[in-house]
């Protein structure tokens, strides 16, 4: 070990160890060309960040779930559900109630965690396949919020609520700040706490984790609760941005969240992943999208290009990992 000089650093630098970063840079440069000169405008860049922040935040929780060996398909429906119920809750207070807003923030986060715990309990305690559990709850959350709202818009009556989601702080939209904050928090949890390590261990080999005196059930459950929490944050950001929730909101969030995680290098089979990677993955998805829009690709083909890019991104990583 010892001190590394700059020279040895560059000597040790192996592209394959930094394939994600390289891919990011390459993509950025391409986007700058394709979208010249709009792409590099501050306005455009913050736009991209805001656009990806909603699914990005959830992607961070999803990363934890995937590392632990699970998957959560219910996040999109859950987000609409939590957002909708939270607005009902908010409307119990006066139209300018700050207290109402404060309590709704709390309510939203807690409700998200409760929903997440529901998934978590079924996966961890009843040992059901996460794919199936969350496929089921995906239908359930969506169905319930449609039922409660009679499939109509759920409008907030609070005039101040909208300021959260559409607010800007130090030139960055508030959802983007949330994205960074949740990212840093979960990065620390994953890399610098025993719990983070237990998630990796359990996702890699449950049996071994058990023999290492790890409370496997708990370790498998908590990532779902964390994901519920991130869903709560996004639900807040989203519902307050529009000051309303439609029961069909947030459809397909699960795919973007998963894609961000996987592009960021998280193994679908569990055991390994990175929060920073997911953050980069989410931003890359945003850049690709922006590029397609700015580049004027046929609208019908945009999805195809996006699919292709995801595949190629992952392909490059796999090959670099030398398997």
């Amino acid at each position: 070990m010892g001190e590394k000089t700059v020279a040895t650093y560059f000597k040790d630098f192996k592209i394959k160890d930094h394939s994600l970063g390289m891919a990011f840079v390459v993509l950025f440069v391409i986007a700058a060309f394709v979208g010249w000169p709009n792409f590099l405008r501050i306005r455009n860049l913050t736009n991209i960040l805001r656009q990806i922040s909603y699914t990005g935040i959830i992607g961070l929780g999803m990363t934890m779930v995937i590392i632990s060996g699970g998957i959560d398909l219910s996040v999109g429906s859950m987000c609409a559900f939590v957002g909708g119920i939270s607005i009902y809750f908010l409307n119990l207070f006066g139209p300018e109630s700050i207290l109402g807003i404060a309590l709704t923030i709390l309510f939203s986060l807690v409700l998200g965690m409760v929903c997440g715990a529901l998934n978590g309990i079924m996966v961890a305690k009843f040992k059901m396949a996460p794919f199936i559990v969350t496929l089921g709850t995906m239908s359930i959350f969506r169905s319930l919020i449609q039922y409660f709202s009679n499939a109509g818009n759920i409008l907030s009556e609070n005039t101040l609520y909208g300021r959260i989601g559409s607010g800007v702080f130090l030139r960055l939209p508030i959802p983007v700040w949330c994205f960074f904050a949740v990212g840093i928090l979960l990065h620390v949890v994953l890399n610098h706490t025993a719990f983070g390590r237990y998630i990796c261990a359990t996702g890699s080999n449950e049996q071994v984790a058990k023999y290492s005196a790890i409370n496997v059930k708990l370790v498998k459950m908590i990532p779902y609760i964390i994901t519920g929490l991130t869903v709560g944050v996004t639900a807040l950001m989203w519902s307050s941005r529009l000051n309303c929730i439609n029961p069909s909101d947030c459809t397909g969030y699960e795919m973007d969240a998963i894609a961000a995680a996987v592009i960021g290098g998280t193994l679908m089979s569990g055991g390994k992943g990175s929060i920073i990677g997911t953050m980069m993955g989410a931003v890359m998805l945003g850049i690709i999208n922006n590029m397609l829009v700015m580049g004027g690709i046929s609208a019908f083909l945009q999805q195809a290009v996006k699919g292709l890019v995801i595949i190629v991104a992952v392909l490059l990583q796999y090959n670099n990992n030398g398997k």
Partner: protein, 314 residues
Amino acid sequence: AGAAETKNAIPKIGIAVPSPDHGWTGGVGWWAEKAVKDFEAKYPGKYEFKVLHADGYAKQLSDVEDLMVWGMDYLVILPHESAPLTPVVKEAHDSGVKVIVVDRGLTDTSFGYINLAGNNKEMGKVSGIYVRDYMKKNNLTKYVAMGGMPVVIDGERMNAFFDEMGKDASLVNLAGGRAYDFSDWSTQKGLELMENYLQKYPEIHAVFCQDDDVMTGVLQAIKESGRKDIKLVFGGAGSKAAYEMIMHDDPLVKATATYHPSMVYDAIAYCLDVAEGKKSSDFNTAKAPTAVVLPSVLVDKSNVSQFYDKDSVF
């Protein structure tokens, strides 16, 4: 030409529509592209167009943001969903973009834009009148109805439809009261729903399904069941397939009520008229939207030839 003044030397026109999640929106996309092609040919090099298709309103929201960064002067938008798109469209308006909203309107009516739409209440009403009268005339009493998706315009149509049906007490909605299921405006779902209805209700006389794509599925289910009790299937919107059936005296399909995706073409044409100075751009500074309503017309054997366009995808 005395065009309305814009930021760009070559004015930029941004068009945001939903991506083709069913036949009708497929038609919207097609008519939007067709308009762009036509007007590019008509005014070569004079305008820049960008058409964006969004698979959800979150995507559409970011599409509008992207169009702002691109620097559009005009926005023609068919909002995926009214409420969530309203703030961003307002933001565009406030930054000087002239806005034309098509079909599904905005929730904020305190600023100036063109609201070009079909008449959903009228569509429900026209349909209701036709179905009611037809049933009466042929001594039919039992009907079922299908909605599209749980969105505002859908409710408007269904309510207007049931208002008309309610005027004759002898007509019974088999599902009870004003109850109905959603077809997602998709053929597949319409087929499945109809199959279930056929099982559930031993006798059905008429089906209102509000959309011609859905009607295709409904008809297929009826055909396969071999049942003869159904005498009328009424869709809506005015698809090519429906027009053809009306033309060829289909036993079940007698008429439809227009609500045509080509309205997006009309909206783009309107936009160019403004840009060319042929229409006033004052709407932009007004304190309320200017409504341009395309009527919903009953199309039957007598007038179908006026509406049929054999090149349309819808």
